[in-house]
Symmetry: C2
Subunit: 157 residues, 2 copies
DNA sequence: ACAAATTAGTTGCGTACGCCACTAAATTCG
DNA sequence: CGAATTTAGTGGCGTACGCAACTAATTTGT
């Protein structure tokens, strides 16, 4: 009869707390790994998405990264300042800005990509390739709009 | 022969990026959930750890939360300002500060705890109780010192 | 065509976090 | 016992994020 409320008092009963704790840990490790490029791990993530998307609108990028639009704007600021990224008004819709990598941005991204690959290999080795793949999939699911809606929908109980 | 480098170009090839993205998503949802208490999700996590530990030293708390000591200090500041938490010099070792909940801190934590439990139930329902438990365990592992060392140890290749 | 509503971003403010440099208190050791 | 070292926190600075309020550009409804 103890199965009703499983692990309420567990240190990480709250998934959100557990994710943030993990985020802090990985942040330290990955920030250090990317340091030779002069990038933070978060900045690499942004550059990488830009590189893959080409010249996305800020809104598109924000959505992909599950990031508030204003947060993306803030995050982009140091990258623009350091000449890795450029914002350009879209001539067809002058409200939107296109984000693109500068020449230097491409260079830096390439170097960071090598580090990223190395880190991915390390992670797979330490955690197991299978398990790592499954974890990534799980995280993607939880970060998805659909899951958020499923969670929010229960508010109407 | 394509199995050598599995999913390097996947959006979340980088576990760190995936965790952060998930963290942002959950942050929005949980921050909103805790809003009635006047707390952010992160603040609840801190209060909860304090409540469980009693009157921990700052350093102990930081370690538990996998947080930089100075970061903890910063995070505590608004909580102290709002009268939820108090810092007290340990008379046996005047270097260390003990963290403790004020009367109001206990009240607020109790209210937040109810919300936390409700959210945990919702999460379990949306994600599956089994899967959720396993995920928490996985996250705890990745956040552990041991795993960090396993990851760092590979730097000597 | 034009006022109202919608969409895309920005700015200001506050919290979240980490690193480095610095202070203070304790511990170690010659 | 007093100097050097270690340990615990703080403060400054910079990035990471989100919300609310505001501006500018586009779309819609009549």
């Amino acid at each position: 009869m103890k199965s009703a409320k499983p692990c309420t008092d567990n240190p990480s009963a709250c998934v959100n707390g557990a994710v943030r704790r993990t985020s802090r840990r990985l942040g330290q490790i990955y920030d250090e790994a990317y340091a030779p490029c002069g990038l933070k791990a978060t900045q690499y993530a942004v550059l990488n998405h830009i590189a893959k998307a080409g010249t996305p609108k800020m809104g598109e990028l924000a959505q992909t990264l599950v990031m508030d639009l204003s947060a993306l704007g803030h995050t982009l600021k140091p990258l623009v300042r350091d000449g890795l990224v450029e914002l350009r008004v879209d001539e067809l819709d002058r409200r939107t800005r296109r984000v693109l990598l500068t020449e230097q941005g491409v260079q830096t991204h390439a170097a960071a990509k090598r580090i990223s690959n190395k880190m991915a290999e390390r992670f797979d080795l330490a955690f197991g390739r299978e398990a790592a793949a499954q974890l990534r999939q799980t995280l993607d699911l939880i970060a998805s709009d659909a899951f958020a809606q499923a969670l929010l929908a229960q508010a109407d109980d």
